[in-house]
Symmetry: C2
Subunit: 444 residues, 2 copies
Amino acid sequence: MSDKAIGVGLIGCGTVGSGVVKLLVEEADVYAQRLGRPIVIRKVLVREQDKDYKTEQVPKGALVHDPDAFFADDGIDVVIELAGGKGAALTFVKRALEAGKHVVTANKALLAAHGPELFPLARKHGVALAFEASCGGGIPFITALQHNLTANRNVAMYGILNGTCNYILTQMIDNGAPYEAALAEAQAAGFAEADPTLDVSGGDSAHKLAVLASLAFGVSLTDDEVPCEGIDTLDLTDVRFGTELGYTAKLLAIAERFNGKLALGVAPCFLHDDDPLARIGGSFNAISLFGHAVGHTLYSGRGAGMMPTASAVVGDLINIACGAYTAAFANLRIWPDQHEPADRMDPNDITTRFYLRVNVVDVPGVMGRLTTILGEHDISISAVMQHEPQEDDEVHGGGDIVPVVITTHDAKAGALRAAVRKIAALDSTRGEPVVIRIVDLPEG
Amino acid sequence: MSDKAIGVGLIGCGTVGSGVVKLLVEEADVYAQRLGRPIVIRKVLVREQDKDYKTEQVPKGALVHDPDAFFADDGIDVVIELAGGKGAALTFVKRALEAGKHVVTANKALLAAHGPELFPLARKHGVALAFEASCGGGIPFITALQHNLTANRNVAMYGILNGTCNYILTQMIDNGAPYEAALAEAQAAGFAEADPTLDVSGGDSAHKLAVLASLAFGVSLTDDEVPCEGIDTLDLTDVRFGTELGYTAKLLAIAERFNGKLALGVAPCFLHDDDPLARIGGSFNAISLFGHAVGHTLYSGRGAGMMPTASAVVGDLINIACGAYTAAFANLRIWPDQHEPADRMDPNDITTRFYLRVNVVDVPGVMGRLTTILGEHDISISAVMQHEPQEDDEVHGGGDIVPVVITTHDAKAGALRAAVRKIAALDSTRGEPVVIRIVDLPEG
């Protein structure tokens, strides 16, 4: 690129968009010094009917409501898409790429669903598609994957990729709040949406896992391939038993390679309390990545919010403007569209440890029946915990029903599921047994 | 660059060098696929008299002992300098840059001392100087600073940058081992050199801090500007009192900006136990960075060792080969030679909390004298701990001498030092009072 100004067109000006405008306006001199040329906001496209845009700092005359007026501005070199969703955003991103404009986006849903179509479109038109802000907010993890970690074949990735869920779980653990109360608290604190479904169901984490795993493991992948459980069915009882056993509950997005096959999933899991990943609380996100050469590296930071996300967006913009990102995008063959579909592992073949809670009628021989069934399925027991039955004890069941908690050694997930089906069918079992994966992070 | 092979010349083939060779040989196909062209080892320069080089995987005919033979190879595009030290390494790096070859180095001592001279030399000859492996081993933190974090003005950085010290401190904390025993254990486990001086004195951390702070804070800086205390004088007594108070001892390399001025230092510090940085144990390294936009981000991983360091070296090589690093190096103005010297803060003006241990003769009125002196210096006390005197208690002093432990609220370092001088001069004081900074990481 030349020494002339970099022209930016911004689509969407809500929370993150106004953060981007704030940075570009307030740090204009700093960025011009770092880049050797100024970054100029040419146009900001917002839907007139929304009215919730925050445009106090938008340069005079830049605000437009008509996409045609936006795309008619030849002074735009880079389009920043912060509209969100997969409808208009898809149209805008395609239109920008086809017009030969680089695109920076924070839109994980769009990338998870349409990445395989958008990346080649960018390449066809000789421009770059950058997306650091789409996963993990301000954490420069995609940057790490694209740049210095390229010497590695990655073997496993464990991500806390949704700040809403991590905030809720931290409330449940630290304050003993049941899920519904913790969710209400997260909503009051601004860490959860009025409709939190996409977050608490694990769907948002699955989008991000699809984007990150594609890069980290060199596979073509969309989010509909990610098995997903949320925290919305997690019982405080199990969070507390976890604490008692030395485990911290986290919603983990996991990608692991076993014998060349990739296992993917999003689910509430237990991590050892002393694992650094377990210590990442509140609304923070974090990722533990295991590379074959580098071993274990951990990244954490704010996974959402106005300025952290704007930091990632503007970071991408600067990297495009200086030619670094565009060179990596053009010359490396690590991008989601350049890979074969993942050779997926049968989820039943995953070998891991498990936490199992079975509510049982407290009669003689119950424990023997449970352990016999597990033994018959080749599942060996690490620890068993059964407290005295206590009246009026909400957590432990109360009355004649007692929870039996069992942790296993490494076992095949399929064998565990089969055993749990048998346990569920026992006369002495009440309700559905609860199964939570215990994640022992690899040596690294 | 073209589609032809990238030629590599390697200087030094010890532990890290043989890791680099291992990656380039074993992953040749993977890298060729990612880059679209092969990486080829042209020459490996080792001193004949050393004999400790590990060259089993070095391609036939590539091993040379004569620097002239090495530099005569026109097929070398990138020189990887792993000789270490500031003597021959300086000559080699200058010679490579002057010959128009990109340089990748893991040599923090060289960069900390000669960076301001080497960076412009690289630029003058149109090549890049890459150094991810110089700090934090395999952690891609320099990559983060160079790329996605460029949207930030950074405000503070706290690094555990020496794995040897972190391993020793972890032994002291977890096993109650005195410093000398923990050092011997680290040496036996291969985490400390036979002569550990550079590590345990804090000197190695100071080198790395100079390199990182220059990038993170946009200042020109050499390591002789970093005040430095090591762990070699740290008493197990204080580590244990720290544990009792809820703090973890870490050797921290700190750079903080206060009112536009930069405060730098390496010293043993206390972190709150629940701080994620405090949880990074063993030989791992970690950095907490606070950017004005991104807030708090944390990075951790193996700070040394054959394959983690090789991962960073080869990552740099791939980034040079694809043109991403070279574009950032040529077009961004963020490099150590492009900044003014740091406007440094008087260390006495730093405001922070302190831990203070004074061994006193256990007579009436002692505590009053200590607290009066602190009060006269505007230092307000957060907590005081004085145990019953115990005979034969090595840790707590024994006999009539008792340790008084005081933690302060935020206080000026200069005022604290003045108060400690007065306290040291009291008749009731025995030995030198111990002062350790308590680091409360910023909100972020």
